[in-house]
């Protein structure tokens, strides 16, 4: 059991940034996002026997998304961007990305966060969101276009 926990701890250390980034984008708040990520890892540990193999990160991303839906969406207030720390010296770009994400429709934001942000395939995102594949593709396409327009100042976005 202790060995399992150590191995799980290594997985958490490897994937925490991905899961926290996804959760923060969904919750639009660093502290709420970290709470969601923490709850997602705990749920993953408790339900580890149900993991069917494949990508651990995708599995925990899906759990994090459901944790978010289960109680945090209601608490997601208008972009609390002052809550996002300016780590890494790229605060301006990150803040603008968060603002642009905040301006998207909820479905577009979720689909973009899962597909572009967390790297899930459209199929995985559709499964996580409980939505038709075509809708997810459409949300990603529309969300991407809106983000590219909003972030045109950053070359190549």
């Amino acid at each position: 059991m202790a060995g399992d926990r150590q191995a799980f701890g290594r997985l958490v250390a490897r994937h925490q940034a991905s899961i926290r980034a996804l959760s923060r984008r969904l919750a639009r708040s660093a502290s709420d996002g970290d709470d969601i990520a923490q709850a997602a890892f705990l749920t993953a540990w408790r339900r580890r026997s149900t993991w069917r193999g494949g990508s651990f990160r995708s599995w925990v991303c899906t759990i994090a998304y459901r944790e978010f839906l289960n109680g945090r969406r209601a608490a997601a207030v208008e972009a609390e961007i002052e809550d996002m720390p300016g780590e890494g010296g790229q605060g301006g770009e990150r803040l603008d990305l968060m603002r642009a994400m905040g301006a998207l429709d909820a479905s577009e934001r979720d689909a973009i966060a899962l597909c572009l942000g967390a790297g899930l395939s459209h199929g995985e995102a559709a499964l996580a969101m409980g939505a038709p594949l075509g809708s997810v593709k459409s949300w990603v396409l529309r969300g991407r276009a809106k983000l590219q327009k909003a972030l045109a100042a950053y070359s190549g976005a």
């Binding site: 059991m1 926990r5 799980f8 701890g9 958490v12 250390a13 925490q16 940034a17 991905s18 926290r20 980034a21 923060r24 970290d34 990520a37 923490q38 890892f41 705990l42 540990w45 408790r46 339900r47 026997s49 780590e87 890494g88 790229q90 770009e93 990150r94 990305l97 572009l116 942000g117 790297g119 991407r144 983000l147 590219q148 972030l151 950053y154 070359s155 190549g156 976005a157």
Partner: protein
């Protein structure tokens, strides 16, 4: 992100993710996992204990009632003769007291087992 960013947006997402430092997050998760495991241990002990106690009462109840139950050999002979003379319906009626007790005990055990397995996986 393990993949190479394909365009400016994905580069921005990757940079956003790369800027997130661990800052004790992993340690907090591992501590929560340890606490959760301790909780599961207590719950499992309580459930298995209750299950054992229930099974004990069930077995004790059988022994307690044994003197009042028909002897199995006589009961079996009774069933055979009842089947041959009075038909299957009457035989089932005669056998019901003993079999009901056994069925209830087995159901109680299965219920405890299912509850324990379900709760420990939560």
């Amino acid at each position: 992100m393990s993949q190479q960013p394909e365009d400016g947006l994905e580069r921005m997402f990757a940079a956003d993710e790369a800027a997130i430092r661990d800052d004790g997050f992993t340690q907090r998760v591992v501590e929560q996992v340890e606490r959760a495991d301790k909780g599961v241990l207590w719950r499992r002990t309580a459930i298995y204990g209750a299950g054992l106690a229930g099974a004990g009462f069930a077995v004790g109840g059988i022994f307690e009632m044994a003197p009042h139950l028909p002897k199995m050999s006589g009961w079996f002979d009774g069933v055979v003769s009842a089947v041959s003379t009075a038909g299957v319906e009457d035989a089932v009626q005669n056998a019901s007291d003993a079999t009901q007790l056994a069925i209830v005990a087995v159901l109680a055990g299965v219920t405890f087992l299912v509850a324990a397995v379900t709760l420990q996986n939560r």
